[in-house]
């Protein structure tokens, strides 16, 4: 149905089918209040494809064997506000505790810091991690920084890899860091190429993928992801993270998230920070 004011309307039943599909493919459990968001975000896409209803669009997504359209769909619903040094306590924790401990733990080598931003969105999080590592006085040239940044949305990954941010969104970044790491060009701050190249961006589905990592991580950030998942999916994900963590390493989750009701083998350190024993 095409309404003059709302555009193409989505029925409750159609919303259910999309909700199920998105859950199966990404683990993201859409709440009822996301119905409007789905309608708004997909209207343009449906029209662009020359379709008339959400059901027609569902059929197209379902039958698209390249899975390209599915990626478009997940992109449309996985949004988050992010900014540099969001949840500043995590970065203070890296500087004051996680990094010095890791350096000590690895003092006999290998001289590598393995860090993963598991839901990196448009890049503010992994770049904040990178700045924190580069600014740390105990990390000298003998240490190699291996920073992996992944996300399920290809669109945000593209933006992250470009590393350009509007000048109006840089409030949370201290002036000296801004100068050191970015070039200002037409009201946009663009990360200097040599820093951009230090982060390894990859598309990655935390839910459906088997974790393929040969080496264990020292620090993992997975923030504002588990809020989308039910208990079972959350437990499975934490189990996979735990398997990929070095003993003594840390997992940071978002401020609305807690593992209190999730069975896991990590040690609670402080709110939203957990350590592998």
């Amino acid at each position: 149905m095409d309404d003059k004011y709302f555009g193409i309307v989505i029925s409750d039943r159609e919303f259910e089918t999309f909700r199920e599909l998105i859950y199966q493919e990404s683990g993201i459990r859409l709440r009822d209040n996301k119905k409007d968001l789905l309608r708004q975000r997909l209207n343009k896409r449906i029209r662009a494809l020359g379709l008339k209803t959400f059901s027609e669009y569902y059929k197209l997504v379902d039958e698209d064997r390249s899975r390209k359209e599915l990626t478009e769909l997940i992109d449309a619903v996985s949004t988050n506000v992010t900014s540099f040094f969001r949840e500043i306590k995590h970065f203070e924790f890296l500087t004051g505790k996680a990094i010095p401990e890791t350096l000590k733990r690895k003092k006999e080598g290998p001289f590598e810091l393995r860090v993963w931003s598991a839901a990196c969105s448009t890049g503010e999080e992994p770049y904040s991690m990178l700045f924190t590592l580069l600014e740390h006085e105990e990390i000298n040239s003998k240490w190699k920084i291996k920073l992996l940044a992944t996300d399920i949305s290809t669109k945000v990954l593209q933006r992250a890899m470009r590393g350009g941010y509007p000048a109006t969104k840089m409030d949370s970044l201290p002036g000296d860091l801004l100068k050191r790491y970015f070039d200002l060009k037409d009201d946009e701050y663009i990360l200097k190429p040599k820093f951009r190249e230090m982060v390894n961006f990859r598309w990655f589905n935390l839910i459906t993928a088997r974790f393929p990592f040969k080496h264990k991580f020292d620090i993992i950030f997975c923030r504002n992801v588990m809020i989308y998942f039910d208990k079972h999916t959350r437990e499975e994900l934490v189990r996979k993270f735990t398997g990929a963590m070095a003993p003594g390493s840390y997992l940071c989750i978002g401020h609305s998230e807690s593992l209190a009701n999730t069975s896991h083998e990590l040690k609670y350190v402080q709110p939203t920070i957990y350590q592998k024993p």
Binding site: N33, N80, V81, I88, S256, E257, A260, N261, Q270
Partner: protein, 130 residues
């Protein structure tokens, strides 16, 4: 440990500042109770009071932000919903398992307030500074 609540948490709108402080004061009382292994019923009563304060404050704040055409309203609402879900889950668990006042819970709440009010609410401050 008590959460420090200073001027940096002011959002530029007095009624909201007052509501935030009321929530923080409740979390302080819960912390005190947890520190001295306080009584379970008093703890549950405080938790219930916090849930109703949060509900009231969130809906007032969301209505005001909507009225002012705030561009990040949807994401902001999400953070509210996520906390409420977590609070209800904690409430259900505490009642079912009969658990005692818990510092892990009060630390979670204090951290949530610090991040949400200090960082997320801070993003709408400019709406009130005109």
């Amino acid at each position: 440990m008590k959460l420090d609540w200073g001027d940096k948490y002011k959002v530029g709108h007095q009624p909201f500042d007052n509501q935030h402080l009321a929530m923080v004061e409740l979390i302080w009382r819960m912390t005190e109770l947890a520190e001295k292994d306080g009584e379970k019923n008093a703890w549950l009563a405080l938790l219930d009071e916090l849930i109703s304060l949060a509900l009231e404050h969130f809906s007032e704040e969301e209505a005001e932000l909507e009225k002012r055409g705030y561009s990040e309203l949807l994401e902001h609402q999400d953070e509210h919903r996520n906390l409420l879900n977590e609070l209800l889950e904690i409430r259900g668990r505490q009642e079912k398992e009969g658990s005692q006042p818990s510092l892990e819970v009060t630390e979670f709440l204090a951290n949530w307030m610090a991040v949400h009010v200090g960082e997320t609410d801070g993003r709408y401050r400019r709406l009130f500074n005109k």
